[in-house]
Symmetry: C2
Subunit: 116 residues, 2 copies
DNA sequence: TGCTTATATATGCAAGTTGCAAATATAAAT
DNA sequence: ATTTATATTTGCAACTTGCATATATAAGCA
């Protein structure tokens, strides 16, 4: 999944949570295609912790298997800001590309025909 | 480089050309970060030809090494339309993500402080 | 003439990323 | 008991990427 890193940072910024819960919440952000890969989520979280972007505590309070509760650090918030800028640039670049194609009339004709 | 495939299709749709020229034109589209990889361009063109998205003829008319002139086929145009839709969705999703973060006030405060 | 630079295409490979499967563990539901 | 849901982790094959290198033609220049 593209944009997994900023998606996790975004969700953790909204609310500290654990990996399994993130898996359920990630599709809301819209970047998923064909299901969230658990391995990728947990690997990203472990990497983030190594990098100091998140901190974790084991939560054994509830029932079932122990949950590892992740919280965004100050460094994690900075990283999220960096991502925000990267994604804004990416959006603008894609937008520019779309307009470049949209300016060309036959192409748009074909597109509107295919919508009918 | 992300979006190399649609970028090449876009440029070929505007005007038939050859690989080396594409390398020079690709940065205009804005997706490059750290230079265009010649290997990636030529590999993509060869793949496109295999898939029937482009057709090629050797151009030995000019001076210097022979150029392989690529032209977009009907299938290539259809593929470009497909990419257009994929990229529009991607832009909308990124836009949604940016707004989700933008709605949160402290975050924006921090961003505006970092701009000063 | 020999050297470098620009044009032009192609191949090889190491490193990184991704996706899918499976291992491990606890507890609830059937 | 067995399956299902919760929860985290590891292994690995396949694919992608970036970088270097090989090959070839011709122009510029000393």
């Amino acid at each position: 999944m593209r944009w997994l890193a900023p998606s996790i940072l975004c969700l953790l910024w909204e609310k500290p949570t654990h990996g399994y819960n993130l898996m359920g919440a990630l599709p809301e952000l819209g970047f998923v295609d064909g299901g969230v890969d658990a391995a990728a989520v947990y690997r990203t979280l472990n990497l983030f912790e190594q990098q100091g972007l998140v901190s974790s505590v084991w939560d054994t309070s509830g029932s079932g298997a122990a949950k590892k509760l992740y919280t965004l650090t100050a460094a994690g918030k900075t990283e999220l800001q960096r991502w925000w800028q990267v994604m804004r640039e990416q959006r603008d670049t894609i937008d520019c590309f779309l307009h470049r194609l949209a300016d060309l009339p036959d192409f748009i004709d074909q597109l509107s025909q295919s919508r009918k």
